[in-house]
């Protein structure tokens, strides 16, 4: 499953501390009543130290996990007990699966049993081989599945799912495993269904721009196919994000990934024209339409987009791909106040119109972190004075089809910004490498902040004019707390998507308590969303009620029940069942 925020690479491992803590510390604060039962018996398989601390009191143990200890106990505190209704997989199950998927590399399993008849072992993998599938890329979430299946066609996916449905086997569908909220790794021992062998590009029509591609194709591969394909090169995938080299387009659709091209090309909900989905009972829902318009009943594909593998497995998508822009420009502005950012945002939209393709913001704290950690090559972008006075930076990207036309629009914008003294200084990239360097500053914000302290990270959607108020309120709230090193904000201003980072000296439940649930309450107060583009996964599932009404959640549960009455799809995540179930 793939997620939007590009540069969350190397997000602090220690974020693993937060999950269980949040749950145990926010009773009655929003998610109350929606907390999943946290039976202690479910903890028996966890490391002793973790058990003790969780059972004892609050799970303080978590912040003591360092990188070194992650290998032994990566995610000790996930509070959901394994649900006994799911079958525990054995070697005989593996044999049945093997008859469904005859290709020798389709099943990876650590389940081992010597077959006396043939003297061959059923195991095809070691625990290390499966770590790639069991552990998310940040090392934050760790499952312990013993079986990974990698079907090679939609029919094979359907066969496996039908078999799982018949045998009550829980499934985690997995794409590139690049998500940030633990949605693509098992919580316990769920079977992992990897889409990585479904990579075919089924068709591309250069007249309509409609591409039909299988779910496991890597985003970057697809994008470069569109860019270079004969006979007519020059198309673009309407989504781009930092994980593009690993994430898969099926996962992108399943998580409704946002990313860097959203401002220009909109959400995947607009660009995806059709889907092919294997339903939780193994039937195939054929919805691979190439139609842009189709008002016949409910738009079923929308249910699957962003469903995070909870009601079906996307095996192919058809998506509308625009022409790649032949002219792009990147500019960076230094600004004194957030109000100036808002005014520049408004002016930019007015002057650039349809060529505006990104509007990103980062504050001085973020910039300084990037600078401190070597992300800014050589000299500063701006003159010394402007550099000193700047409190905010805005990155503007244009994508158009006519360089002269774009240059003229930009020139008008610059004139207007300079004459109104809205900006302290600005720079316009003169070539592609300068564009890349400017983008790099923005993309390195998350990573550099993680290096500057223990970073508590929040991906929030708030009305753009309130975006920084949120950061300031958190800053005021935490002022005087000597264990807080700073509060930084950056994000996709064009989309009203803030990435708020609280930098602390350590991960502890005290600190966490001082941030949460306040931050979610503030977001709720501004009618925002607690997860803008990262999804719910395991991390935010318990907090859904801060962004969704009781009625919504109830409807979501009913949808889940209609599609997946046995509850085998990606359990313990997303929309959680009522606590009494």
């Amino acid at each position: 499953m793939c997620q939007g925020e590009s540069a969350q690479s190397t997000t602090s491992l220690c974020q693993c501390s937060s999950f269980g803590v949040r749950l145990s510390e926010t009773p009655g604060a929003g998610p109350s009543g929606r907390r999943h039962p946290t039976s202690r018996t479910g903890l028996s398989r966890r490391p002793v130290a973790a058990d003790r601390s969780i059972i004892g009191r609050a799970p303080q143990i978590l912040h003591r996990y360092t990188t070194a200890s992650l290998h032994s106990a990566r995610h000790p505190s996930y509070p959901y007990q394994r649900n006994g209704k799911y079958t525990i997989l054995t070697t005989s199950h593996v044999k049945e699966l093997r008859s469904l998927l005859p290709h020798p590399t389709s099943i990876l399993t650590t389940l081992d049993l010597e077959d006396p008849a043939t003297a061959t072992s059923t195991a095809t993998a070691t625990e290390d081989d499966l770590a790639f599938y069991n552990i998310d890329w940040m090392g934050k979430y760790k499952g312990r599945s013993q079986v990974v299946v990698r079907p090679r066609s939609t029919e094979e996916v359907a066969k496996v799912v039908r078999w799982c449905h018949g045998n009550d086997v829980a499934i985690v569908p997995q794409g590139g495993n690049t998500g940030l909220v633990g949605g693509s790794t098992p919580i316990h021992d769920e079977l992992i269904l990897s889409l990585s062998h479904l990579t075919a590009i089924r068709s591309f029509d250069s007249l309509s721009g409609v591409l039909t591609v299988e779910a496991g194709a890597i985003l970057e591969t697809v994008d470069s196919f569109l860019s270079n394909q004969a006979p007519e090169p020059g198309f673009i995938f309407p989504l781009d994000l930092g994980a593009k080299g690993s994430c898969q387009v099926g996962g992108n659709a399943a998580t409704n990934a946002g990313g860097l091209r959203l401002l220009r090309y909109g959400s995947l909900r607009g660009s995806v024209l059709g889907l092919e989905v294997v339903l939780p009972d193994g039937r195939v829902w054929e919805g691979l339409s190439g139609l842009r318009k189709d008002n016949t009943g409910y738009d079923m594909k929308q249910l699957f987009i962003g469903s995070e593998g909870s009601i079906g497995i996307i095996t192919a998508i058809s998506i509308l791909c625009p022409r790649r822009s032949s002219s792009t420009n990147v500019a960076l502005f230094a600004l004194p106040t957030y109000d100036a950012c808002l005014e520049v945002f408004s002016q930019t939209k007015k002057h650039l119109g349809e060529i505006l393709s990104a509007f990103e913001m980062f504050d001085k704290a973020s910039y300084d972190a990037v600078k401190a950690h070597g992300g800014i090559k050589g000299r500063n972008v701006f003159e010394e004075q402007a550099q000193k006075e700047a409190r905010f930076f805005c990155l503007v990207e244009t994508s158009g089809s006519n360089a002269e036309h774009d240059a003229e629009k930009l020139s008008n914008l610059f004139e207007s910004l300079l004459s109104a003294s809205l900006i302290l200084d600005g720079a316009l990239a003169q070539d592609a490498s300068q564009s890349a360097e400017i983008w790099k500053i923005r993309e390195l914000c998350p990573e550099s902040l993680s290096k500057s302290g223990k970073a508590y990270k929040y991906d929030l959607s708030v009305p753009v004019e309130k975006m920084y108020t949120l950061v300031e309120r958190m800053r005021d709230h935490l002022r005087g707390n000597e264990r807080i090193k700073g509060v930084a904000g950056f994000g996709h201003m064009g989309d009203g998507n803030l990435h708020l980072n609280v930098l602390a000296t350590e991960f502890s439940d005290d600190i966490q308590r001082s941030i949460e649930p306040l931050i979610y309450q503030l977001v709720s107060e501004y009618d925002g969303s607690i997860s803008a583009e990262h999804g719910l996964g395991a991390m935010k599932a318990p907090y859904i009620s801060f962004s969704q009404s009781t009625n919504s959640i109830e409807l979501m549960r009913r949808i889940k029940e209609i599609f997946d009455p046995k509850g085998i799809m990606n359990p313990y995540k997303f929309v959680l069942p009522r606590r009494d179930e």
């Binding site: 020798p104 032949s326 002219s327 792009t328 500019a331 960076l332 502005f333 090559k377 050589g378 000299r379 972008v381 701006f382 003159e383 240059a407 020139s411 610059f414 004139e415 910004l417 300079l418 900006i423 200084d425 600005g426 720079a427 316009l428 990239a429 003169q430 070539d431 592609a432 490498s433 300068q434 890349a436």
Partner: protein, 261 residues
Amino acid sequence: MRPTLPSLKYNILVPVKRSIDYAVKIRVASDGKGVDTNVKHSMNPFDEIAVEEAIRLREKKPSVVSSITALSIGPPKAADTIRTALAMGADSGIHITVPESTVVEPISVAHALKKVIEDKKFDLVIMGKQAIDDDSGSTGGMLAGMLGWGQGSFASKLEVEEGGKVNVTREIDGGLEKVEGKLPMIVTTDLRLNEPRYASLPNIMKAKKKKIETLKPEDLGLDFTPRFETISVSEPPKRQGGGKVESVDELVGKMKEAGLI
């Protein structure tokens, strides 16, 4: 003690070439005689370094650098490249215009530069050691030869002392070589000489008001007709995709088949 040379002021000329952006993936044109030029162009990176170095020389000693002129030979769009140099800090531009997709060979460029230098009195020419499109790397040397000037090529460090002594550091195998010269002189820039600055918005706006003189080859009494004809341009052979084998025996078999063992 070495005698101090009399102080002098000097004019800098920076030739800049509009070339395909170095981040662009090059494709062979459909006629097989060149590359697809309908892609992003920007200033040749070595020339960008040359512009930066000229500006730094002036920032260090504002009183001795009288002027910095950026010159480009190219189609109408080469004016954008001159504007970039002006936005970085050059004072004025000279644009020798040629029709779109005209190939101007290094020898023609050197002749044109020589003519301009003689007409307008430049004392120091800082230029890229090569352009990344044709990789000839010969204009600097030809120009120095034609003018009979000293040349410091592949400079990774440049100092101009008061009085006109020029110290150039060059990166060579296993170390650094220092050469000395005296104005007038040609210096060609290497990658590590400096890191070019960003063009700031106020400077981009100011650059719009700076003067660019436009000339035609005929105005200089020059003929740019190429001496070479490109017969064909082709892509490097495509890498053959690998295959997967199911067993060691099969692998050994395939290797034998290929005559590798």
